[in-house]
Amino acid sequence: MTQQQTKVFTIGETIAVLYQRRHVVLWTILAALILVLGIVTLVAGKLGIGMGDIIALFGGESSPTATFVLENLRGPRLLVAILAGAAFGLSGALFQTVTRNPLGSPDVLGLAAGAGAGVAVVSLFPTGLPTPIGALAGAGVAIGLVAIATGSGFTSPSRVILAGIAVAAMATAITQFVVTATLRDEASRLAAYLVGSLNARDLGHAGLICLALLIALPLLIVLNPRLQLMELGDELATSLGGKATTTRTWAIVASLMLAAMAVAVAGPIAFIALMSPHAARMLTRSTGPNLVTSALVGAVLLVLADLSVQQLPVLDGLPVGIITAGFGGIFLGYLLLREFRKGHA
């Protein structure tokens, strides 16, 4: 029934976009949810900015405390949560669509573990390179190793996953070695990074992930209809002019780039990439990569998780990655159970 409500939005001869009213309503709700959660993040708790100050911010006049909290403490953290969440969501949606593996996401692929190893290795240098650089380098090396190990780049999904598991194991070994070998306070700082934390983010982090999303945007616009075609199988997609192999390669490249940047600024926050596309599909109840919905869901999940570690007394000060890992683990169990039931129905 869903296809029946498909509408066309056209601008002149060159632009025509298909959409469903249901999706637009859903996107509006999710965006509103991000806005509400964002305001709560800024307002709540001890250092919260007053509602009056929030309104005043748009007028230009606000108290110095409020400005400081907004510009240095909660503002950047919130931005990073929204943008990194969206990047994780997109990354997972792209990856799951082209690998046809509902339980796959770039974190599984050795990327997160590689980033962790990168940060660990960087922490060994006394001069102290910035963490995001270590993470990016580590993720890059891990991806490179995966691409070499498959012998065919990213064209064969099953090889990518197998090579990814091997690379992840190696990276984890390196990380463990560094953690055991380094000093205690360094190790505990490292441990916080390794589960993913949004503590002490600045506008530089937000800028980095924003840049990644802007770079990915044109690619995603071109890839989106082709990804929909990929669902028909490679042969049919190719015969329809969809260039299945090229599409898969570019989708994986975009997915890895987004995940690597998100991991670089937010740490290897678990399960957002895996969960968002599933949640998106449940909400839209429609086929296709569901890119926009996945991005919005990813942002909602990460903002919500970060808000809870900031404000819930029980979770006080925990890295946000622990929360997402906890809920993600439960969700993964549910998915496995569902796949299992499907297989035996």
Binding site: A16, V222, L229, E231, E235
Partner: protein, 260 residues
């Protein structure tokens, strides 16, 4: 004038080291319904996939209008040649109309996911396959025969001159096999060229205009379906001793295995 032609020249295709097809020449007969028959593994599917550029063909080449198919932009080629593979995947939750709509992809652009001709083309394809009533049903809820019709409708919506079908009747019961073959006949009668890989020689002889008989990656016979089948050919190609009878309804040749 005769330039409007899909043809293979010196085609050599294979998965890995040993080629499935070796140095094959084939002109697809224009405006006709051609059935490709032959034993399992003789390269029938490989041939149709190569013609639709789904498999890379080096050395040798497939040309359309005298131009190498690799030189066509993928969507441009997909406006001329359609292929229905053996095992396409049904996207989860897609409706019949949604599936048929995917056949319109070749007519879209990077930023244009819709063209004004889409709706009439989709409606026509649904009508031609008798699926208008079922258009809003999920494909997953259809029977095997209806589902195959939906796939054929998708290929029809592609509005190509050439329709290539890889074993369109496999896994269907006899009534639905005949249903699909009649549909192929109708598509061909509309002036399109149909090439279908078929298993049943009698069905091929009855419904197709022409037969292409393959063995070990080569074409061993190609001609009108009412004159091509002989008992020596069947014995050569399939290793089956048979007699050629006459189909009581259509008068076309009918292969009957000899008494045991």
């Amino acid at each position: 004038m005769t330039y409007n032609l899909l043809a293979a020249r010196g085609l050599t295709v294979g998965y890995g080291a040993t080629p499935v097809i070796h140095d094959l020449d084939f002109d697809v007969p224009q405006g006709r319904f051609t059935a490709i028959v032959g034993p399992n593994g003789c390269g029938k599917s490989t041939l149709v996939k190569s013609l639709a550029r789904v498999l890379a063909t080096e050395p040798g080449m497939v040309t359309l209008d005298g131009k190498h198919v690799q030189a066509y932009r993928p969507r441009r080629l997909a406006q001329r040649v359609a292929l229905l593979p053996q095992h396409p995947t049904v996207p989860e939750g897609v409706t019949v109309r949604g599936l048929v709509a995917r056949g319109r992809y070749p007519y879209h652009g990077a930023l244009r996911q819709w063209s004004p001709q889409d709706t009439p083309a989709i409606d026509q394809a649904l009508n031609d396959t008798g699926l208008t009533e079922l258009a809003d049903m999920p494909v997953a809820a259809l029977s095997g025969g209806q589902r195959q019709r939906a796939w054929l409708a998708m290929v029809l919506a592609q509005q190509t001159d050439y329709v290539l079908l890889d074993e369109p009747t496999s896994f269907l019961d006899i009534a639905h096999q005949v249903d699909v073959l009649r549909l192929c006949r109708n598509i061909s009668n509309q002036g399109r060229t149909v090439v279908a890989v078929l298993h049943d020689l009698n069905q091929a002889a009855r419904y197709a205009d022409d037969l292409v008989v393959m063995r070990d990656g080569a074409i061993v016979a190609h001609g009108r379906s009412d004159t091509t089948l002989t008992s020596s050919l069947v014995s050569d190609v399939f290793g089956l001793d048979s007699m050629i009878g006459v189909d009581p309804c259509s008068g076309t040749p009918m292969v009957v295995p000899v008494a045991d």
